[in-house]
């Protein structure tokens, strides 16, 4: 089956040890996680994981179900690039004077719409926001100038572009189902 880069978005309760449980599902199937970002979500007490991995649809479907099966996971969904707005941030530490003295350097920075945030005689730091491919492209071009000391990227963060807010709907559905259950018991 065709392999693609899938973005998996997981929402969970904020309990210790959950990250472990989520990543273990990938480990068990020997799927490499390309990037992983965990942060608070817009819902209080709920954490959001944005994970990317190269795999096929049949596998990712099973992975997502097995993640969702964890008791404290609210929802897990997978997306292809067309279904999300995604972004990344990257930092590049570049050695001076190689960087400053290279006439190509400033052109590269401008063409990529990156920002120089620190300059001193030993190095500069460049910051770039953008899509994953843009960040990789800038890295490749800077590497060709032989001046990259350090490079780091945040990993993908993404929000869905659909009009449905899946997690909000899920929480409403759960509360509603519980209310009904209680009524039936009474």
């Amino acid at each position: 089956m065709e392999k693609k880069l899938y973005t998996i978005i997981v929402h969970s309760e904020n309990f210790a040890g959950l990250l472990n449980q989520v990543t273990a599902v990938f480990t068990r199937r020997q799927i490499n996680i390309e990037s992983l970002n965990v942060s608070a979500s817009s819902i209080q007490g709920v954490h959001k994981y944005t994970i990317t991995a190269w795999t096929d649809e049949e596998t990712i479907e099973k992975v997502v179900k097995q993640i969702e099966k964890k008791i404290d996971v609210l929802q897990a969904n997978y997306f292809v690039d067309e279904e999300i707005y995604q972004h990344e941030i990257a930092l590049y530490k570049l050695s001076n004077p190689e960087f400053q003295n290279n006439p190509m350097a400033s052109k590269v920075i401008r063409r990529h719409n990156a920002r120089i945030v620190e300059v001193n005689p030993v190095y500069c730091i460049v910051e770039k926001n953008g899509m994953s491919e843009d960040i990789t492209e800038l890295y490749t071009e800077l590497s060709e100038l032989n001046c990259v000391l350090q490079f780091v990227r945040s990993g993908r963060v993404a929000i869905t572009t659909s009009n449905l807010e899946l997690v909000d709907e899920f929480l409403e559905y759960r509360e509603e189902k519980y209310r009904k259950q209680k009524q039936e018991k009474v």
């Binding site: 008791i71 759960r174 509360e175 189902k177 259950q181």
Partner: protein, 565 residues
């Protein structure tokens, strides 16, 4: 109720009693001592069974849970105490058995320091449990216990592990009982999708050669009557998985036998001939399917399960009916038409006949030679009027018992299906006698499996647990030996085994016993075992190189079972 100020350990006792627990299986040790001290004050309400090894506590809790439908509880210490239960936790996970393991843990102040008997229990058990949680404060005890029991028994059941730090056991708390029946992130019973249900009904109504696969889910969901009503209205034959064997009485005319590697010819062959396959509460384990690429390719497949992660996991299905099968089966029965499948059902007969003539008759009614395993199982099953609870160990004894024991009552088989744990049988049988004290419990074991848990004879002695132990001794690790013969050129690599004198062992434990070598003594020995109050060890010296047949070789096609090896 007024709040009371008590220790965390006392809060645990009250929380367990609040959950209706009456029986615990456990073993004390350093980090759980405050809890065992509290247990001393509750020993009249909470019957604690002291096992001889913590693995036995976990398997006993499983046996207890499987026959009673209640949650089995273990209480052990930290470190080696709880790592010894890990096999039981993993076993309960694969076989969907509700147990709660409560283990001591070093005080919070020592966590992460490699303190004496500290292990990262939550880290170890996360991948093999339904939920695992560390109780760090006494005020979390009541909530954690309520959550543990709710998770263990709801939806698809499974094991829960509570890691109970020592400081949380000794600290004081204002105790108030907690009831919990809702976790927003956890939906144990999916809603029924009416559209899918109708699709399923349409497929069934149009089917000429339908076949139902019955799994343990039917027993876990208490849907045995709903299953029979569905089968009888639609006149559909069924095969049962190993764990689903007692979901329908063995002599039900629509029961066509066991599925899987050592199952019956009929349901396996017919899996690849049916036009609609209806799987109820089973998970298409590889021991059932053989090669998935040649499994039921001709059929439309309907999968009824409570766990959505099972859908399309091993076998792609056409219709998925999620929900509690007690409800979905009842709803489906309303939507399907009454029908007769006389010809289709009759077509099983040739396979039944073929299997009987080539395998069964020789195995259970032999006229000469040493005792056969199948023969021993048949005699025990008949002598109990097919009403006993069957517990098995793992290996040839398990397959022979599963094949030739008969069932008239639900929840009558306790066996390690998914994990295939040798040493499971004896402690599980102990647990079963506490879970269903009014029923006869017979456990079949090989000489390998008995010796893996032989220390539990001590528990049986102390409790006078009325376990009827049938040892089928062939001086081999028989199942591996059979595979070595069939697939490894007969190179018996470390499968022959020198055995102790089991009569002396039984006698040392004060357990009545008898050894049977000759066929003419078998019946009477079995009757003696059943007539004896309390435990009994019956050693049957069976054919050394017996084989379980028929067989679908691993990765083989279900419809191409071998009849001889």
């Amino acid at each position: 109720m007024e709040k009371q100020r008590i220790t965390g350990a006392e809060a645990l006792m009250r929380s367990l009693e609040h959950q209706g627990v009456k029986t615990l299986f456990g073993y004390p040790g350093g980090s759980i001592m405050p809890t065992f001290d509290a247990l001393y004050g509750h020993r009249d309400q909470l019957n604690h069974i002291l096992v001889r090894h913590e693995q036995g506590a976990a398997h006993a809790a499983q046996g207890f849970a499987r026959v009673s439908g209640e949650v089995g509880v273990c209480l052990v210490t930290s470190g080696p105490g709880v790592t010894n239960t890990i096999t039981g936790v993993a076993d309960a996970m694969l076989d969907s058995t509700p147990i709660v393991v409560i283990a001591g843990q070093t005080p919070v102040s020592l966590l992460g320091t490699d303190a004496f008997q500290e292990v990262d229990l939550v880290g170890i058990t996360q991948p093999i449990s339904k939920w695992s949680y560390q109780i760090r404060r006494a005020e979390d005890v009541a909530w954690a216990v309520a959550r543990a029991f709710y998770i263990a028994k709801s939806g698809r059941p499974g094991p829960v592990v509570l890691d109970f730090t020592k400081n949380a056991q000794t600290e004081m708390v204002d105790y108030e009982p907690v009831d919990l029946d809702f976790i927003r992130s956890y939906d144990p019973i999916p809603d029924i999708d009416r559209v899918e249900l109708q699709h399923a009904a349409d497929l069934i109504n149009g089917a000429e050669r339908p076949l139902v696969l019955v799994g343990q889910g039917v027993e876990l969901g208490n849907a045995q009557e709903e299953l029979c009503a569905f089968l009888e209205k639609t006149d559909i034959p069924c095969g049962r998985t190993l764990l689903g064997l007692s979901a329908i009485p063995s002599d039900h005319p629509l029961n066509k036998g066991m599925l899987g590697m050592h199952g019956n010819l009929g349901p396996n062959v017919k899996t690849n001939e049916c036009d609609v396959l209806i799987a109820v509460g089973m998970r298409f384990d590889d021991r059932v399917t053989g090669n998935v690429n040649t499994y039921a390719r001709q059929a439309k497949i309907i999968h009824m399960d409570i766990d959505s992660a099972e859908i399309n996991k091993n076998i792609k299905v056409d219709v998925a009916v999620l929900g509690d099968c007690k409800e979905t089966l009842a709803e489906l029965t309303k939507l399907v038409r009454e029908k007769k499948h006389t010809e289709w059902i009759a077509s099983f007969e040739e396979h039944e006949k073929k299997e009987f003539e080539n395998v069964i008759e020789k195995e259970i009614y032999p006229k000469e030679g040493p005792l056969n395993m199948g023969e021993v199982v048949r005699v025990v099953s008949e002598a109990t009027n097919h009403e006993a609870i069957l517990v098995t160990d793992v290996g040839q004894n398990q397959m022979m018992a599963a094949r030739y024991f008969k069932y008239t009552k639900n929840r009558s088989i306790v066996t390690s299906g998914g994990l295939g744990t040798m040493g499971f049988g004896l402690p599980a049988a102990v647990g079963a006698t506490f879970g269903c004290p009014e029923r006869t419990v017979c456990v079949f074991m090989g000489d390998g499996g008995l010796q893996m848990s032989i220390q539990e004879l001590g528990t049986i002695m102390e409790q006078q647990a009325p376990v009827k132990m049938i040892l089928m001794n062939n001086n081999y690790l028989g199942n591996v030996r059979q595979w070595q013969k069939m697939f490894f050129g007969g190179r018996y690599s470390f499968t022959p085994m020198v055995n102790p004198d089991y009569m002396k062992i039984a006698s040392a434990y004060g357990i009545q016993s008898r050894r049977v070598i000759n066929r003419e003594d078998l019946q009477e020995a079995v009757l003696e075992m059943l007539a004896t109050d309390g435990p009994f060890l019956l050693e049957t010296c069976v054919i050394e190189e017996g084989a379980v047949m028929p067989m679908t070789p691993p990765g083989g096609t279900v419809s191409e079972m071998l009849l001889e090896c």
